[in-house]
């Protein structure tokens, strides 16, 4: 039986009251398996940070449930137990106004059981983090590195990284990805990260969740998702417009392009059986899957709004 580092059920978070109420998270059901590197992807305002804040006990769900290692992060003493097992890099990387060295020293005393000075030095060296530069003089990239060093050296059971690549140059980004894979996944530890950097996340993540407008559009092992999604260009008459596997259809000059989100082989066989000709059938990159899902979600939401109006 799979155990989950983070699990949410019908999670809702609303900000504001009455007509000004906004649903930042809207019935989210998320399953982050223990031991995975889980990438939560989404556009701006998709609800990623709000979800992370609820997992860290910084925000309270309006309804629904959120569990971290099966515990409720809203209430003490469960909250304390959860936080003892979680390393966290916040979205804005603002870090108490301390130098990276002082920040590391401070954080070290909160996690005496798991903290590793050796790992802290390794992260500092690999990311080339200046330890004694005053906080105000740190660049955004160095603030990100400091936040990462602090969280990684904790050697927590779960590492939650909210936009961990902000301000990092390509070399630092590459080092970070290596560090995450080499040093943060041993002993069944979990990494949960939200990001816009799809190409980089594709290199390390084994599970993906794509969010939009507070809802999860897609979730699962990355390899499964890649094998399920396909772009198929078809010619022929009386082509199907509805099928459970179709995500979207685009009519071109002489052909029709289907974006399929499940069972592409079965759909292709149906097409051939109905006399259609498959001109092209290509797998899709994570970036293409993400864009298609977001566009479809946007048009569905626009249709709904029109209906409502």
């Amino acid at each position: 039986m799979t155990s989950y580092a983070i699990q949410t059920k019908a999670l809702v978070k609303t900000y504001g009251l009455g007509s000004k109420a906004t649903r930042a998270v809207d019935g989210l059901s998320l399953n982050v398996p223990e031991g995975s590197i889980y990438g939560l992807l989404g556009r701006n305002s998709a609800g990623k940070t709000t979800t992370i804040r609820m997992a860290m006990g910084l925000a309270r769900p309006t309804s629904g449930d959120i569990r971290v290692f099966g515990l409720d992060p809203r209430h003490d003493p469960d909250r304390v137990t959860v936080l003892a097992q979680v390393g966290y890099v916040p979205e804005d990387k603002a870090l108490l106004g301390l130098t990276p060295r002082k920040l590391l020293e401070l954080n070290r005393s909160f996690y005496p059981a798991t903290w590793s000075d050796v790992l802290a030095r390794k992260v500092v060296d690999r990311l080339e983090l200046p330890l004694d530069t005053a906080f105000l003089k740190l660049s955004l990239g160095n603030k990100t590195k400091a936040a990462l060093a602090v969280a990684i050296a904790q050697r927590s059971r779960l590492l939650i990284l909210d936009e961990p690549t902000t301000g990092l140059d390509p070399i630092a980004l590459d080092e970070l990805l290596r560090l995450l894979v080499e040093d943060c996944t041993a002993d069944g530890r979990t990494i949960f990260l939200s990001t816009h950097q799809l190409a980089e996340i594709e290199q390390i993540a084994d599970h993906i969740g794509i969010m939009d407008r507070g809802k999860i559009l897609l979730e699962g092992p990355l390899d499964d998702i890649r094998s399920r999604f396909r772009r198929v260009t078809v010619t022929g008459a009386a082509l199907p417009t509805t099928h459970p596997g179709i995500l979207s259809i685009r009519h071109q000059a002489h052909a029709t392009q289907y974006i399929l989100q499940s069972a592409p082989e079965a759909f292709a066989q149906d097409l051939i059986a109905n006399g259609a000709t498959i001109v092209e059938s290509n797998p899709m990159s994570l970036n293409e899957i993400f864009l298609e899902l977001c566009r479809t979600s946007e048009s569905t939401a626009a249709d709904r709004e029109e209906e409502f109006a």
Binding site: L58, A59, R60, P90, S109, P112, A120, R121, L131, D132
Partner: protein
């Protein structure tokens, strides 16, 4: 007169500015040296203080940090109160002193009046201290950092609140004791040698002095000192209550004015009321055991009202803290 006030301000501010400058210079020197040396990350072992050995490392660190801040606040409060109270002992007598028939009476009057006026100044200091407690619990990097470390909300709340609250109360008590000791050392127990009646040589132009002296004779210094302590408790806890109340959805520094308004308004209102309260402290303030002017003290039982209100405010603030979002 202006020269005296400037001198007083300098005497008051000099130690504070000197300490601040020394601290900034030493921090910059240490930081500059560390940056030049570029030492690797090899943290020194942190032995646990004997008294706190039974606590978790996280709790110890958090508590020690706040005790340092509390120590600074304690010193500042004690210095401020001692300064306000003893100012008349070190400054030349002003023009009104010539009207007074007895120097001891004038000194005692100045000392006690300083105590009643200290409420205005202290209210500002207390309100800003309360805001300084609330802000890092509600928003900003500090709030988020400590809310995501393995320490309970209850521990964070009580450490922050009690360290500041007790530092202010203890600082005020120390300041009062210090001022009183200085008075006794320099001038002797002057309140014991006050004439029981107003001398006949006071003329019709001296009616104000006569009235003040009559009020002075029925004023209880103990009540005023107790009032300072209970007023600090009341103001601090009231702002804490207001600042943690869920009706104020403080999500950023933009919400700060919501807290600053009472902080600015209350001392201002007290100053106005105080200036127009020659006939004695208004009844509402007496009920809350706040002494703004000379006169008969409120019944001692009234001191229980601000104490009870403070306890209620702090208890509510603690409950609100559980539901705060950061």
């Amino acid at each position: 007169m202006i020269a005296h006030l400037t001198l007083s301000a300098l005497i008051f501010l000099f130690p504070l500015i000197a300490v601040a400058v020394w601290k900034i210079v030493s921090i910059q020197r240490t930081a500059g040296k560390a940056e030049r040396d570029a030492m690797p990350f090899v943290p020194a072992p942190q032995p646990a203080p004997a008294l706190l050995r039974g606590w978790t490392s996280a709790r110890r660190v958090f508590l020690v940090q706040h005790l340092k801040v509390a120590g600074f606040l304690y010193a500042m409060m004690a210095w401020t109160i001692a300064f306000i109270f003893t100012l008349p002992l070190f400054t030349p007598a002003n023009v009104n002193s010539a009207k007074w028939f007895n120097h001891s009476a004038y000194l005692w009057y100045s000392f006690v009046t300083g105590a009643t006026h200290s409420t205005q100044f202290l209210s500002t200091m207390v309100l800003f201290s309360a805001i300084a407690v609330i802000m890092p619990m509600r928003f900003g990097p500090e709030a988020r950092f400590y809310r995501t470390r393995p320490i309970s909300i209850s521990f964070v709340f009580w450490t922050k609140v009690l360290s500041v609250f007790s530092a202010m109360i203890a600082g005020a008590a120390t300041g009062i004791a210090l001022a009183f000791s200085l008075l006794v050392i320099l001038k002797g127990p002057i309140w014991q040698s006050l004439p029981a009646t107003i001398p006949r040589l006071l003329g019709p132009d001296d009616a104000d002095v006569a009235q003040l002296y009559a009020s002075l004779l029925v004023t209880s210094a103990h009540s005023i000192f107790l009032s300072i302590i209970t007023t600090i408790a009341l103001f601090f806890s009231a702002v804490l209550f207001l600042g943690t109340a869920p009706v104020l959805r403080l999500r950023s520094n933009a919400a700060l004015p919501l807290l600053m308004i009472p902080a600015a308004f209350v001392p201002f209102a007290i100053a106005i009321i105080s200036n127009h309260s020659n006939g004695g402290t208004p009844h509402f303030f007496r009920t809350l055991y706040i002494c703004l002017s000379l006169g008969p003290p409120p019944p001692l039982a009234y001191a229980l009202i601000p104490i009870a209100l403070s306890a209620i405010f702090i208890t509510c603030a603690r409950l609100f803290a559980n539901h705060q979002e950061i």
